[in-house]
Amino acid sequence: MWNDSNKYDRGVNTFSPEGRIFQIEYAFEAVKMAATAIGIRTEEGVILAVEKKLPSRLMDPTSVEKIMEIDYHVGCASSGIAGDAKTLADHARVETQQHKFSFNEPLKVEAVTQSIADLATHFGEGSEGMKDKPMSRPYGVSLLVAGCDEDGPQLFVTDPAGTYLKYKACAIGSAAEGAQAYIKESYKDDMTLKEAEKLSLQVLKNVMEEKIDQHNVEVASVEKETGKFRIYRTAEVNDIIDTLS
């Protein structure tokens, strides 16, 4: 697979003869090494659940921000380089507010995702000499974007290449393959939000190395009824963990 890689993999601007840009593919590896994140979409709303890989018990778990609110109706969970995730989420936040400023309406979930994916091709925005000049490398993060708009609850996944796809349920990160297999078994189109909450944490419990508790996972949801994106308090997460097998 990496046959030609020693010749064509250094430059991010270089295609290999097979038509691959290795630097971008290597960026995907950054996501594959990172903590697992799961998103499940139901008719009632979307659930996001992430593993917080805490390197030591001396670290304050509340300082690890893997799930970020983008606007009242949309949020994202990240897997990959944390700094890149914050940059992309902040960009999305500014986009939603500027859209509201100009058009007096919330930005649609797909449009939010598109604005994030658009940054990937240029490694950023702006031009040389400005405060927001582009990076010299691809973003090393995948985001699960969960939101609710007039088209109902939606889940999108972005990647370092700038692609985004809509999913019913998806797992990204180190245990993505295993998690995806678990989800595929149990996912049903007519699941309730409560069932999705339980499934997402059950899957995380199965694939995580550490024992799951309310401090090393983070959960959020967008409910169709309220249309609001909400990050769960640790007590709520604890209640769900108590129901797991």
């Binding site: 960009h91 936040r93 507010q97 500027q98 702006g126 031009s127």
Partner: protein, 312 residues
Amino acid sequence: MDFGNDLDFLDQPEFGEPDFFTKAPIELMGPTLGLDIHQNEADFEEADINEDIGEIKSEGFCFKLAPDECPSEFARSLKHLGPKLADFKHGTTTLAFEYQDGIIVAVDARATQGAFIASNKVRKVIEINEYLLGTMAGGAADCQFWERYLAMQCRIYELRNSEKISIAAASKILADICYSYRGYGLSMGTMVAGSDLKKGAQLFYVDNDATRVRGQLFSVGSGSPFAYGVLDTNYKWDLTTEEAIALGIRAISSATHKDSASGGVVRVYHVNNQGGWTKIHDQLDVNEDHYKFENSKGLRGDGKEGFGKLKL
């Protein structure tokens, strides 16, 4: 093209062409504003603001300036060349005061163009967000646009910091914008009234010179001297909400009856100490209340109040 300080540019054949005016990019205003808009390249290509200022890339909001090297000079020279052209009188009465249970904001609703009453239904209180109100005096567009922009900055602050912005910071954002545009002809005399859970309700006065002061009682506009008269006589910190609302209405009402540039209806808002505001009166007709006030003073308007009281 050197225009100097005359108005001949209006006769130039290229007047009105998109490239005719120089563009003032919001980048010029420095990092304080932090705007990141990526607009359509076709409309806002990298434009230079004339060579004297140097190369500044233009992105996002672009405000066309008067075609002059020094816009503040241009603004001043207009006063001689065309006395009525850019005369923004603050024809209005707006007031706000803090008291024990929050802040009362009361405004009139009249817009005048010289002696012509353009509207009696203007909304001079701008609902910035659920916990901030801004009043409008001076240029309506300036107030509306920048207070809407302030709403955007407050929301971005909330998202980035996971907590609501303080009223002091919000009013500072607006004042800093005014400072950036000093001399460019902004006309705004506004009061920022808001409430947060840490400090309760707070009131700031911000104007186009970038003056920003915290205070307990302000009135802005051509009718403000009349409003101050009523307010200063009856104001106490310990007013009840009912009394405070009545005072606000009374002050605006008096001002509208003495100042021709104020009138229409009275709108009243109450900012509470718990991080929110409510609209108390959407449109209270001053004419109806005027006679009630007069009667309460013992005046019937028929000039016969003294009849039967003479002792001969």
